[in-house]
Amino acid sequence: MMANDMSMSTAEASAEPKLRAAGVSVWYGPKKAIDDVSIEVDRENVTAFIGPSGCGKSTFLRTLNRMNDTIASARVEGLIELDGEDIYGKDMDVVQLRARVGMVFQKPNPFPKSIFENVAYGPRIHGLAAGRDELDEIVERSLKRAGLWEEVKDRLPESGTALSGGQQQRLCIARAIAVDPEVILMDEPCSALDPIATAKIEELIHELRGRYAIVIVTHNMQQAARISQRTAFFHLGELVEYGETSEIFTNPKVERTKDYITGRYG
């Protein structure tokens, strides 16, 4: 099983990347948070960003769907392409971009609306459903893909915030899936969840792999090892090492990576 996974990821790594960053630097005011990062994200694989707090991994993740645009002092330099298209280009519609590159955050943040509305909201504003039937279908399909359908199908009108933390996070994933994205960015999606809820999210990520390109930031190295095929180690705003997850965790090439993953950092 594992060997199979590895050979698949190696074969797929040669395909055109889904996302490509070249020479990306990010400033918050005068402070450089990301320094000249170049990386390619596979379309078929789960890519994990790891690194100590403040290393820039979340900042970098947020440049991938221009989430940093919302921070006034943030400035991004360099090129980021989604399927060869410059996402910071003049013609890029940021709202469309964020539908194509969805995001799931550390803390589950469902809208204070019904479970149904949480998932239906995106498709509705993006005009993805022609009528109520189609909207119902999208909601059901999204909740099924997020592994939440069986638990909520009889309580769709209830508030999303009434769900447990793990269910809320899967609701947020369903919400991201509902607009049919190409990439899903996850910023520590399990850090507020217990081990069972975490395992469910990890299983979900495994199931979603292949359908969406997934990039996940995690502090939990075991999680990165469990769910990703590629791992990128960030430190002090630099991309230190990027490669096959199995290699990074058994035989990292850079001393700094080794010190971090073996728990010798700092």
């Binding site: 075991q222 965790f249 058994t250 035989n251 080794k258 993953i261 073996t262 728990g263 950092y265 700092g266």
Partner: protein, 233 residues
């Protein structure tokens, strides 16, 4: 060098240190078993030979101790990269060193049979060969404790000399057997002794290869291992 390796969590360092200490202790016992069995053979000391046989239990117990320590570290510490390679190497090395102890025990068991045939001339080559393989075991385990890939690679290169010794002893014993059929029984036992030493040398080389991988993350190349294509297994 055997001290802490700088983990943020000091208890992890202590676990690894204990694991290394157990492996080092196993190495010490195996080395002593080789030299003691050889002393018993040369001096025809049946009591010393029996002690080697009895002491082998200690090695068996230590192997189990290493195994449970390693499993515990994997479960509780989730070691990564060189730490992971080291723990896995420790597991395998413990098994190999235990086998080395078995070979030494087997040599000790043959002392009685050889002692009963006093007409066989003592072979100076055998103790010399034993000295080399005991040194290889010693160096391989030193390299493990120090995470020293270079030292491990050097051990592998000495296996060639051990094989040469074996071939030379083989030919000599064959001559003895042809000279006088009465020599056949003791010479055959001595040949097994030499064969055991040759196997110990191979095992020490295996340990060194594991140490090299644990320390460097790379496999030793054939040339560095000093592979002898004429050697049969």
């Amino acid at each position: 060098m055997a001290g802490t390796t700088g983990h943020t969590l000091k208890a992890f360092d202590e676990d690894l240190d204990q694991l290394r200490a157990s492996i080092a202790e196993m190495g010490g016992l195996a080395e002593a078993a080789i030299s003691e069995s050889m002393r018993a053979l040369v001096q025809r000391d049946l009591e010393a030979a029996q002690k080697v046989v009895d002491d082998d239990q200690k090695l068996d117990a230590l192997e189990m101790e290493v195994e449970s320590r390693a499993v515990q570290i994997i479960a509780l510490r989730a070691p990564m990269a060189d730490d992971l390679r080291e723990v896995v190497a420790a597991l395998k090395i413990a098994g190999v060193v235990e086998r080395i102890g078995d070979y030494a025990k087997n040599i000790a068991k043959r002392v009685r049979a050889i002692e009963q045939s006093p007409n066989l001339r003592p072979l100076s080559l055998v103790p010399e060969m034993a000295r080399i393989v005991a040194e290889m075991v010693h160096s391989a385990l030193d390299a493990f404790v120090a995470r020293d890939a270079q030292k491990a690679a050097e051990v592998c290169q000495r296996d060639r000399a051990v094989d040469d010794f074996y071939n030379s002893i083989f030919r000599t014993l064959l001559t003895f057997m042809m000279e006088d059929p009465q020599n056949i029984t003791p010479a055959t036992h001595l040949l097994f002794v030499a064969k055991n030493l040759e196997r110990i040398g191979d095992h020490a080389t295996n340990v060194a290869e594991m140490v090299y991988f644990a320390a460097s993350g790379d496999r030793l190349g054939q040339r560095q291992r000093g592979i002898d294509s004429t050697q049969s297994d």
